[in-house]
Symmetry: C2
Subunit: 351 residues, 2 copies
Amino acid sequence: MARSIRLAVIPGDYIGPEVTAEALKVLDACVSVDDIKIETTHYDLGAQRYLATGEVLPDSVLAELRGHDAILLGAVGGRPNDPNLPPGILERGLLLRLRFEFDHYINLRPARSFPGVPTPLAKDVPIDFVVVREGTEGLYLGNGGVVRRGTPQEIATEVSVNTAFGVERVVRDAFRRAQARRRKLTLVHKTNVLVNAGSLWSRTVDAVAEQFPDVAVDYLHVDAASMFLVTEPERFDVIVTDNLFGDIITDLAAAVTGGLGLAASGNINPDRTAPSMFEPVHGSAPDIAGQGKADPTAAILSAALLLDHVGASVAARKVEEAVVADLAARAGGPARTTSQIGDAIAARVAS
Amino acid sequence: MARSIRLAVIPGDYIGPEVTAEALKVLDACVSVDDIKIETTHYDLGAQRYLATGEVLPDSVLAELRGHDAILLGAVGGRPNDPNLPPGILERGLLLRLRFEFDHYINLRPARSFPGVPTPLAKDVPIDFVVVREGTEGLYLGNGGVVRRGTPQEIATEVSVNTAFGVERVVRDAFRRAQARRRKLTLVHKTNVLVNAGSLWSRTVDAVAEQFPDVAVDYLHVDAASMFLVTEPERFDVIVTDNLFGDIITDLAAAVTGGLGLAASGNINPDRTAPSMFEPVHGSAPDIAGQGKADPTAAILSAALLLDHVGASVAARKVEEAVVADLAARAGGPARTTSQIGDAIAARVAS
Ligand SMILES: CC(C)[C@H](C(=O)O)[C@@H](O)C(=O)O
Ligand SMILES: CC(C)[C@H](C(=O)O)[C@@H](O)C(=O)O
């Protein structure tokens, strides 16, 4: 009997719905290749809903989302510098709230080069690593404040909170992934300046490493790691890092492997106490919306991560292979629209 | 009458003294081309002194350093993972202490490509921007702590402190530099997550911008900026950012312009209430020490920044031109030793 997946879909704003439609098209095609059934419920959330109604994430919607097996998100975000949409409203109120409420402590971001896809780098080396970014702590908590706002005496603070509990679980997850890959784990932090948090991260990696003697452990300061991501990205296998460093280096990783059009991510709760959420790393790109220009590949690869998470690994592999084949076929060919790319990948999956 | 410059020299560890010797050679050559005299006093500080004596920066040395016009630093740091040298000892106790004690609120890091120098990027575009990194606030203050260390309940915090006073002065300095260059300033921050500090930085840029109507202002999140540094580094003119973001993006900037061998920096106190300090961005590189392999160019370019700071701009331009000419001449030629490079650049300066 087919496994039934209850999927909540948050298409979001601008290109969000465009790429989500293609990811759903590909998921539909999966039904013929794996023993799954997918029931979707769409949720209208994002900048447009906020601007129209003032609502970001009503508690009732949060409760409904919780009832699903997984969430597929397109992209949310308004026009740059919209005075009615101050920075942080959607980020803190929607994206980060979901990560915190659903305890998405693994923010998984694979970075790989694809044959046929040009990169900005001069050297042509195969790149294949995964960043395991902590998703529920660090500077993302919203801990901090302001005194004497708007005066010459203003002080604004941001507090990075790191717990043994939170660091240990993400480090352990990263070791497990390293063990299933090329068995190399790199901790990225800034232990020489952030000595409190840095010490906790380092000691935790050292302690967990004892249980994974077959995994080689390396450490890089975040500034050095950023350089290596440009000069020697092929050296990485699994990177584990905190929330903010992970934010920066995963965009960098996307840049060196061919751009945000291909960068997928999973906000994962491995304990399955709440649904995990899968989304392309890119934003809602108002500037190219409505023109069929958005590349749905990152959304489709995020759907593959979702399939893996719900146990449909046959379908997940099929989707990844279809993407690889499509990217190779794209090389040098004419530009295709968002839906043409989705059609092509869906057809390859079903074939 | 020649202007006399009292220069404190901190050669430091491993390749630090090697590259510093070449920078001093070039400074010596400057005496024949500008109306300056340079008196140097050497200070033995760094990992080796700490390991031998337990001293990092004695107060008496700090007081002596204060009596100088400028400081030239090579690089400090011990062997990786030396158990006798915990992370942070030299960084917090020496490098950052000097920045804080001498109020080096401008951490100036030029990034430019040089004809003849290969970069890791596929496209060959001229890159020429400068990062104005805040040097005395943010996450570098050492504000934070640990509770229940070593237990499963451990919590480690790091606090980023940002003041209107501190942000305003660095932003104003960056606008002045932009005005003297291509008149484009980019604020890099993470205003959508770090809403307290982000708001202070944004509002400060907006307020100061009113006094610089000829400077075009742009904003990028640090993750997006990191991408653009790889895909479109030519778009930048002046970047202003906080201490930690500046640390990361200046290493990235060094990577895309040809490496740490060329990356110079100035820790500048523009109010001249204490000496400014000039140093290559690279570290002490124990692995290549003693082999004549270190590239002294970053130290020499740091000396050029120093010359500018003390008003010897004729000499500063001479050094920069000599470096550009030497880099072009190097292209394709046999590898040269540290002192051969220093000799060649010094000879060009004197010629
Ligand atoms: C939109 C923003 C809150 C988010 C983050 O910083 O995590 C984004 O940059 C990402 O990487 O998913
Ligand atoms: C050594 C370290 C404290 C320092 C920093 O983080 O500022 C270094 O990385 C730099 O960029 O000068």
